[in-house]
Homo-oligomer: 592 residues x 2
């Protein structure tokens, strides 16, 4: 009963008017990203999402995945056909390396398509998403032989991929993991252990699944310095590239979970399975982070995506449901009641969500563009800046967008009142599905710690200093534009507060590291509000170029709402940061 | 796998030390509420909750309710036996009128017991809760004959009760309802219509179910002025009080919903069923509000309750789960890792939840005491004040406690990381169950509108003015107590902001009613923070009387945390209120 229509106009506005992709046509892949081409690709992607993937969202949730006695797993009805359509359209490799069959389009365009997929059917989107993530890790760390062996089939979607990190006693703290690897004479390893929470661990969509597995080589150092990464295919690959015999990898069970039922979350048993080292011995965590950082951005995008789709359905209901009268007098006196969109508090929920979603989209795509520039920019300085920004933004996006995505999905559900709680209406599924994004790929608290404990301090703070300087420059460049002034003022105020928070952490964290930890989540939120304020200022500038266009008018109204209603939280975050660790850490553990 | 232990010490602290129930021993029922008796009752209630009700919480969720072909409904395994135990213990009628078999204990003590039930098993607790709610409405509006006919069996739990308000096209806006009532020669009515979302609409726990049904008498005025309330028993009651034949009331289906699976949420069909008027013709909504206001407080309590139980399980996990090392150096160097409760951001989630839950409990019980004083206080002035406070606090408690209860259940789930998302661990059930409380008994947006649109203005603002004057007096009375000063300062600041918000609404709502609607939710949150600050100041004062007692020390630490980390949001709420309706209402409906 739910619908999804890709927000094509907003996506194009961000790509063409805000980021101005055409400026980058000198870079590899970008020449193919003309405005016309962007429009055509988004159009087709939108059709796929709306017509093929979204219709399977509720049915996939209801049916879930089925594990059979032999350990094989069946995905929900229709997933296999949809996956074939997806692969045939080349969507999986949209921004993958053309050398291995990818389309080589800009990453930022791939992100827009991914947003559609994650909005239309989050559980489905994880299958190709993990496959491509694993392929990226092999591309970054594999030998030429490994790349030739795996990448073409993975990028084509014939083979899937997974990340095998977590064990029952080892989640956030990967140093505790026990899965062991024993080197064989032929250079391969025997891998033995149990992994849990493995998304897409086993399924029927692909003819092979390439598991990337963290394990400890016999005799390796303890902790994170003794972890290596292995390629462990479900089926061996014959010399001719065809799929051979089974490799002692099996799905022990499927977890029963709150949501994303269409994705098989597996307990995976590796029983003397054969693996091959990916990258260097004992450097597995670093290699896995290639995949994980990309995955974190993908998860951030899931937050935006679930906010978008739940917004659309909440807004549709609010326009149609007749209940009560406008406070200012009947809006549609000929009807038995007014549509509930006349009620300010219903609008509040929808506008909150809209102001978040549009701002988050612009910020996310802006970051994704730097993901392209890391590799493709012509000058070192830009590549350096892009790399700095990617490192800085990854935890902020992952945490903030998933938390707010979940929260806004809850608000959209609230718009439907009692119907929002009923499965058939589909809103509660958005909430249940969105919930996972706050947890996987590093729980949000870890992202906050990554930000204050690593990313802020890295290279003497170069990343955030460059970013803040860019904001200052933007404000200076646009001084005197009266229409833009509220956006510049809001941005300047948020940035000043964030700077103050940064300085407070700098001054107080060394005395007591817990001061940094205690303020980490509020700092991340404060930082994120500045990023959103910058995204909104950039959008407002672009919208002001077409002040008579309805889309741009609405953009500016939504932007003003952002300034009035979302940005004020920044002051409270700063106050909480400055409270430090005091009362937070005083209670003895047994008093909880 | 989850546990629940009633927070007996905290409940006793609130009842005995903060509210000082012994001061009221001159009032009916309070003489039986000595400290010893309170302790004994809470102890027994806690055992029932922990040993009988909570063990059925996860299994009840998993199994759900089953509707059979004949329309009968089976509750989950164990519910029937637990319900019998519950009734046998007299828990259902703990604060009901002794004239009809109740125990006549103070309402505030009943609330404490209810908190335990709602924490231990929310879905279960709704069955007796609705029965007692319906009994209260009959007691308030029924004829003596009706009271004699229904109350003894309802208060004993032999018969259940329901509220039948919502229809598919008529939820918040009850004026639209179509269920019709046709008067018969014998004074009864024939009721025909379909009601949806009827909690406990049909089940196997009681031998009869007394439905209270809103319907429109033939020829009645349109809108809310033509609605009457009827008693429609599932089975007729014979003259000797025994249960007779069926009355054309049937459960058409059970809704599939996000949570509270152990409670049967029914579509109820009334097909020429026989009903008897409860109260006056066309005054049904007012009579139903007796039940609804009580139900709203019960729902508010569900927010505290789900926060408490999820907190307990989150805290247990945080104390036991070993992962990572404390930022300040290993806390338990002999173990492979430290328990995650050493991490500030884990503490943040737990302390947020604790500071909310304890404050909310005190505020809730304080309000419940006024629920007693409305009827029992000896002087008119106190009864008037109590009635004012109940009216004022009901929407604030219902909205704020359910929203925060849900949010904190989400945080407790987050403490468990990936395990939080897995059904077996039970944390995701707390989230799904807590979610309904924001919706039913008047969606939270309606509560906010009730506050700013009705309760603030009623009697020229007497209720809030009296409340604020009480706060001022408390601050003045305690000036000079240095230990209490931070609490008084925090309370004064929050109250000043709330007063400013009240005045802003007063000055701006008449120009444009949407200004009131636009600020309603932020105003409610701002108001609630003041109530919490007052509750915390009262608790701090009581705790400071035993400064060497560990419980009191911890109370003061948690109170300080409240001031540092929860209260700062009040400034942002005020800023948002002052933004008014502007950007919120500007977009045309079709632009959403």
């Amino acid at each position: 009963m739910t619908v999804y229509n890709a927000p094509l106009k907003d996506m194009q506005f961000v790509l063409n008017n805000v980021l101005q992709l055409s400026k980058y046509s000198n870079l590899p892949g970008f020449a193919d990203a003309s405005e016309d081409m962007v429009e055509a690709i988004l159009d087709e992607g939108g059709k796929l999402a709306a017509n093929v993937l979204h219709p399977l969202n509720q049915s996939g949730d209801k049916e879930g995945c089925t594990r059979h006695e032999d350990g094989s797993v069946t995905t929900p009805k229709g997933f296999k056909e949809a996956y074939e359509t997806y692969c045939e359209g080349g969507w999986l490799g949209i921004s993958a390396d053309p050398e291995y069959g990818g389309q080589g389009l800009p990453h930022v365009l791939g992100i827009a398509v991914n947003e559609m997929v994650s909005a239309a059917n989050l559980a489905f989107g994880m299958y190709p998403g993990l496959g491509i993530g694993a392929a990226d890790a092999i591309r970054a760390h594999g030998t030429d032989e490994q790349k030739q062996e795996y990448l073409p089939n993975m990028i084509a979607g014939k083979w899937g991929g997974t990340m095998n990190l977590t064990e029952a006693h080892s989640g956030t703290d990967l140093g505790l993991l026990r899965t062991k690897a024993v080197k064989q004479d032929d250079g391969s390893y025997k891998i033995t252990g149990e992994k849990i929470f493995i998304s897409a661990g086993e399924h029927d969509l692909t003819e092979n699944i390439i598991h990337l597995v963290l394990a400890r080589i016999e005799g390796a150092p303890e902790g994170v310095k003794g972890i290596s990464l292995f390629i462990v295919p479900k089926f061996f690959v014959n010399e001719d590239g065809s799929v051979g015999g089974a490799n002692g990898v099996s799905c022990g069970s499927i977890e029963e979970k709150m949501g994303i039922h269409g994705n098989s979350t597996c307990v995976m048993n590796f029983d003397d399975s054969t693996g091959w080292l990916l990258g260097q011995e004992n450097k597995g965590l670093k290699a896995m982070f290639t995949m994980m950082n990309e995955a974190r951005l993908g998860v951030a995008l899931q937050g935006v995506a679930q906010s978008e789709v739940s917004y659309q359905n909440g807004a549709d209901y609010a326009r149609e449901r007749l209940q009560g009268r406008a406070l200012t007098g009947p809006a549609e006196p000929d009807k038995p009641a007014d549509p509930i969109i006349v009620h300010p508090d219903v609008r509040r929920m929808l506008m909150d969500q809209r102001a978040f979603t549009e701002g988050a989209r612009a910020w996310m795509y802006w970051t994704a563009l730097y993901g392209d520039l890391v590799h493709k920019a012509e000058d070192d300085e830009t590549r350096q800046k892009a790399d700095d920004y990617m490192g800085l933004m990854t935890p902020v996006l992952k945490c903030y967008l998933t938390e707010k995505g979940y929260w806004h999905a809850t608000n959209a559900q609230q718009v439907l009142g009692g119907h929002g709680y009923i499965a058939e209406w589909g809103m509660e599924q958005f909430v249940r599905d969105a919930r996972i994004a706050m947890i996987y790929e590093g729980a949000n608290g870890i992202q906050a710690l990554d930000l204050v404990g690593r990313k802020l301090m890295k290279d003497g703070g170069r990343a955030w200093q460059t970013y803040f300087a860019e904001i200052d420059q933007f404000i200076e460049d646009n001084q005197g534009d009266e229409n833009l002034k509220p956006f510049l003022d809001g941005l300047a105020a948020a940035k000043a507060r964030t700077l103050e928070g940064t300085q407070w952490l700098g001054a107080n964290a060394m005395q007591n590291f817990n001061n940094a930890g205690a303020g980490s989540m509020d700092y991340l939120h404060l930082f994120a509000l500045t990023c959103l304020a910058y995204a909104w200022a950039q959008m407002a500038k672009a919208a002001l170029e077409n002040p008579d266009d309805d889309f741009c008018k609405h953009k500016l109204i939504t932007g003003r709402y952002f300034l009035e209603r979302l940005l004020p939280d920044s002051a409270a975050h700063l106050e909480k940061i400055k409270a430090g660790a005091g009362a937070m850490m005083e209670l003895p553990a047994e008093a909880f």
